[in-house]
Amino acid sequence: MGHKTFDRGIHPSYYKELTSSMRVETAALPKTVIIPLQQHAGAPCQPLVKKGDAVQEGQKIGDVQAFVSAPVHSSINGKVKDVDLAEHPNGSRVLSVIIDGDGTSREWKAGGAPMDTSALTPEFIRDTIRDAGIVGMGGAAFPTSVKLAPPKGKAIDTVLLNGCECEPFLTADHRIMIEETDKVVWGLRALMKATGAANGLIGVEENKPDAVEALKKAAGGHSDIRIIVTETKYPQGAEKMLIKAALNRKVPTGRLPLDVGVVVNNVGTAAAIFEAINHKKPLIERIVTVSGNGIKEPKNLKVRIGTTFEEVINQCGGLAGDAEMEVLNGGPMMGVAQTTLTVPVLKGTSGITVLTAASIKPLKYDPCIRCASCVEVCPMALMPYRLGDYGRTARVAEFKDWAGLSCIECGCCAYVCPSKRPLLQWIRVGKLRVRIEAARAKK
């Protein structure tokens, strides 16, 4: 019998075997960390420290009053070297706190068994999550506490944990599900308690049978938790696709999962929630998959937030050779190419993929032949060939009319295009133009 899935999508090569069976290693303590005050979707934080201040690991160093936001914390003990603009993986320069470490670190643990989730109040869970600066760790980095506070009149019946990890090369979530299974399940129960949801689901692609096994064992005692095994297909891990596969519900255009009674969180987020509540540990480190044919020793590394890509790559044996490399923040499908290695690992950095430039075909594209391959694979049922042209030719109004803003940027269209047209890049250009136009209109 076929596994559950969504409509359309593609089957790229996954290359997961490079790191999928490697235990998570803890990276060496970084000497300097660069912690951007914007690592989440929403309002940027204001710095709470200034140059010369001594900071402790886990100390809050930035926060803001806005509803859609999450505080940031120091990931090491040390001294604030500067509060200045610094390179951010999104390509711009963002106000960041730069901390020189003193080489010491503290332990985060609590004696005894984990707390009983049923004894906690939803408010306590939400506030702890907000205070710990937890954001969606799958990549979009949306503040988790905001997801757990639905507007009045919207009931949530299901919490869906996302363990699909459909992006090629990345295995961070896979390892979390195997090595921190109990934390994931505990986090799910906390999320169910916080939202009042009766059902807990964990969606995993069928190419991770060991994770499914482990989760089934850990969740065995809870009748309200089910493991959903989905087909291995890209982009199964996009939240709207996962909701379709797991619950057969469709999120309307421009709406959120909570409009259909669902909250989706990454498995890594669930594990972070466990640590935030039981160990009082804010989100100061995360698991990053460092992979690709440009890396000497691909690894799953537990890295402090703010460690530069350069340091992370050096801990994986460095770059394989002196040839030109393409370094991506994320995987090859959705990742964004970096222009410098001084950018830091963020809360939403699930992987660093390094490919040799020689293995990437140069951009050379032909005219659109109207084959509609892109339309056939678009999981959001958009018209990528059209949106691409609207983005390229700056036809902003039409781009919006054809729902360009609903694009989830999965890149299936560009992947299948026989003319090798850079459709995703054009659509991203279109989205950027919409933002630029809106900003200019405000002025």
Binding site: G91, R93, T339, Q425, V429, I436
Partner: protein, 283 residues
């Protein structure tokens, strides 16, 4: 056989005559009365449909001018001559029309701000800007010439240093280049503005200087040298000229350590002398 031909000819003739009468009637009955001035106004406008006036094209502006919704000096591309003609037609006094010019506020070309990565994607500025661009300066000109492509008046070109050049003999001030630039480097200024800070970097001086040889490092020497208090201010690590106060001469530019603040509209490049200055290609 002959009869069939005659019947066909007559029936078609009658049908044709009937429809002709109907069309003649419809033409009178449903005639759209358009102000004849719109057509005449359209004749005065440049017809370039540049969009500089804010309307989708020249015809739209002609309608708005006739209906009085648009100010008579709305057309930026036509210059004073067109404004005078429009005013004459509308029977009003010609309003003052300041010629606007595009000013490229970045001097960091390939020579001044090096490329720190190889960009292989779509060769347009907005596309390159998605990843932050391949230049070390994240505020400077990306050099893929989207502004040049946007110019409908053949008034721009990229120079050998990877920076756009505006031909001031051809620029009509429609602002298409300024709208095309994803980094807001091009600004539209009235012709009488002379003093410009050719930098957009909001980085602190030390970093700005590291990535570009002609960056504004916010040293505030120009602020001190400006004879009018508040004529130049520093905002976000960048010198900002207050055009209503600052004298448009070179008094504040002399001590600038990087030479990013200059007086005088950028060498007054014309199309002819720009192309004449290029090295001749073989053959």
């Amino acid at each position: 056989m002959g009869l069939l031909l005659i019947i066909s000819a007559i029936s078609m003739g009658v049908l044709g005559a009937g429809l002709a009468v109907f069309l003649a009637f419809a033409d009178k009955k449903f005639q759209v009365q358009e102000d004849p001035r719109i057509e005449a106004m359209l004749g005065l406008l440049p017809g370039s449909n540049c969009g500089g006036c804010g309307y989708p094209g020249c015809r739209m502006l002609a309608e708005k001018l006739v209906s009085g919704e648009a100010p008579q000096n709305a057309c930026v591309a036509g210059g004073m001559e067109t404004v005078a003609k429009i005013a004459e037609m509308l029977g009003v006094e010609a309003a003052e029309h300041k010629r606007m010019l595009a000013v490229v506020l970045c001097k960091g070309g390939y020579a001044e701000s090096e490329r720190r990565a190889t960009y292989r994607g779509e060769a347009t500025c907005t596309a390159a800007n998605l990843t932050g661009g391949d230049k070390s300066c994240t505020y400077g000109c990306l050099g893929y010439g989207e502004c040049v492509d946007a110019c409908k008046f053949d008034a721009m070109a990229m120079n050998s240093n990877g920076l756009p050049v505006v031909f001031y003999d051809r620029c009509v001030g429609c602002g298409a280049c300024a709208r095309a630039c994803p980094r807001d480097i091009i600004e539209m200024h009235p012709e009488d503005h002379r003093l410009f800070v050719y930098c957009r970097s909001r980085d602190r001086g030390a970093h700005a200087k590291k990535v570009c040889g002609v960056a504004c490092i916010a040293c505030s020497l120009c602020v001190k040298d400006c004879s009018v208090q508040g004529g130049i201010t520093i905002k976000d690590n960048l010198a900002v000229v207050n055009y209503s106060l600052a004298p448009q001469n070179d008094e504040s530019t002399r001590r600038c350590p990087t030479g990013c603040i200059l007086s005088g509209m950028e060498e007054q490049v014309t199309k002819k002398n720009f192309y004449a200055s290029l090295p001749r290609q073989a053959g």
